[in-house]
Amino acid sequence: MNDERIREKLSILADAAKYDVSCASSGSKRKNHNKGLGDASNGICHTYTEDGRCVSLLKILLTNHCIFDCAYCVSRKSNDIKRAAFTVQEVVDLTMNFYRRNYIEGLFLSSGIFKDADFTMERLVRIAKKLRTEHKFNGYIHLKSIPGASDELMREAGLYADRLSVNLELPTEAGLKLLAPDKNQKDMIKPMNFIKNEIILRKEEKTLFKKAPLFAPAGQSTQMVIGATPENDRQILYTANHFYNSFNLKRVYYSGYVPVSNDNRLPGLSTAVPMVRENRLYQADWLMRFYGFNVREIVDQNNPHLDLDIDPKLSWAIRNLQHFPIDINKADLQLIVRVPGIGVESAKKIVSGRKFGKLNWEHLKAMGIAVNRARYFIVCNSQDFERRELSGTKIKQFILAESQSKYLKQKPNQLSLF
């Protein structure tokens, strides 16, 4: 009986938590220092669901009872669904036992808001505290901060959690007004600011006292739902950029809206999840964080949307052909990473490898560069290079013609037999 009940609760509360896309378990420095259980110094994806998303953390809600009525959320007050709530001990037992079997890297705990923000936050903190102090648990803990929770609770949360996050929910205040009238961006920015300042403060402390406690060592992240409201990619990426810069965020997650309601403010129930768009946004996000791109280079007034057919780096390159071709044997690393088909790792290999001798196409292929895309933008130690004056559109056509993108339903320029 008891077994059946806990299984039912887990099913309900995992179902309710799965739309939160964050699953990272990396970036912390927590070590197994007390011969307890676990080590959060590297991130591992333990399995993948049938939708191809990684499962790294036990991602659950403490409860799906909620006093709010956000239109895009399955747990909204007005939705007629089964409700459940875990006890503190149940979450602790699940986490410990899953971790011991190497199922997970740790716990991602969020919650519907019952009673008020502090009441909810206090429970979340109590679970983290119990795991850390009573069970010597050194695995990863990601706590969702409840907007409006008091500073004292947030501070305590940071002492036990590796990462804290506050969801922005929607990219703009206007979107929030429309779909989540109970919430406003100010309530979200306040705890983000608090966490940011606290992290900076603790870092300074750490330089003075080596034994100073860790405070959210894996930093903070946020998430926004995309495709539920009519914002364009430019608005989304500008918001992300603003939050990266102003709050030192580790990650911004983009969650393609999965239809969960026939509310007429939202896309209909039969609407497809915008998975390609989501993928392009992540690519753009990576360009900003690892490839040295400014958000204005990726989207602007004239190009408010990312091209769905091709990735944003290729898209930037064909809009900026004046920079190309570049000589792979001479150009700076910062320029090489901007070439479509060359990633950060390969770019570093090129820069190291060319010290020993000039590189040709064979070398580049062996290093794992997508030569079919890169060849329009580079020259190397070979007589063979693209001599035609090709327009951006032409290059795009050529590349699409030979690519087998999983996103293209039909190959362009494919000859029909009949």
Partner: protein, 253 residues
């Protein structure tokens, strides 16, 4: 062409390298004894692993390679890919041929090959860190069977030792018939004799701890419910969790 036959250990490989320099062999190939194919034309010589000789090669490698360079060679050797010894030999010869550090010369085919094989081995190591599924036995030991593509147990030992410091565990490589046992103090390599104790599927289940079945069921429930059917993407799923690993994954059985 002469083929040097060694015992398959890293020490054996380094001893073979020593012999090659000692006897100034040029047309040479190194092959582990279990992969040896009958061939009437090539000369063969057996190599006996020798710690002193191996250490001399090791010393030379330490001088010429960056920190971690020897570890990289060792990891690549654990790939046990047929014929890989000759590529490692090529790399070592290149390293000894010059006083420069050559590990960044990605235009060289041996350097590139090593980096490629390392990528394969490290991916498998990482997969094992992810895909090991412990089952709690009645005696309190957490047991897991694995069948990795490459011989990665030596590479994952430290990871598990650090992580599961407060529980006894065994990770057993069925394919290579050996495993690691951690007894709360040390992690040691062991060999179990399954044939005599008849450890088939049924007896394993009968020796589960009392809550094991519940937690396996909970994990399966969780795995099912965290999926979003509207986003189904089988290709991506299979890319991340190839079918050959399924039989040891609780959530996929």
């Amino acid at each position: 062409m002469i083929t040097l036959i060694y015992d398959g250990t890293f020490e054996g490989l380094l001893t073979a390298v020593f012999e090659i320099y000692e006897h100034k062999l040029t047309e040479v190939s190194i092959c582990p004894e279990h992969l040896l194919k009958p061939n009437f034309f090539d000369a063969k010589r057996s190599i006996v692993s020798d710690t002193v000789k191996a250490n001399r090669v090791l010393k030379g490698l330490h001088q010429r390679l960056a920190a971690g360079g020897v570890q990289r060679l060792y990891a690549a050797h654990l790939s046990e890919i047929a014929g890989e010894e000759d590529n490692l030999l090529g790399f070592i010869r290149y390293a000894f041929s010059t006083n420069e550090t050559i590990e960044q010369d990605f235009g060289n085919k041996y350097v590139m090959r090593l980096s490629y094989v390392l990528k394969l081995v490290r991916r498998e190591k990482h997969r094992m860190e992810a895909f090991v599924r412990f089952q709690k036995m009645a005696d309190g030991i957490f047991y897991a069977s694995v069948e990795p593509d490459f011989n990665v147990l030596p590479l994952i030992l430290n990871h598990f030792k650090k992580r599961y410091a407060d529980q006894k565990w065994i990770i057993y490589d069925i394919k290579r018939a050996y495993g690691i046992y951690y007894d709360l103090q040390d992690a040691v390599f062991i060999q179990l004799n399954f044939a005599s104790s008849k450890q088939d599927g049924k007896t394993i289940i009968s020796s589960y701890s009392e809550d094991e079945t519940l937690y396996q069921a909970l994990w399966k429930d969780y795995f099912k419910h965290v999926n979003i059917p509207a986003r189904k993407n089988t290709k991506l799923h299979l890319q991340h969790v190839p079918k050959r690993y399924w039989k040891h994954l609780t959530e996929k059985i």
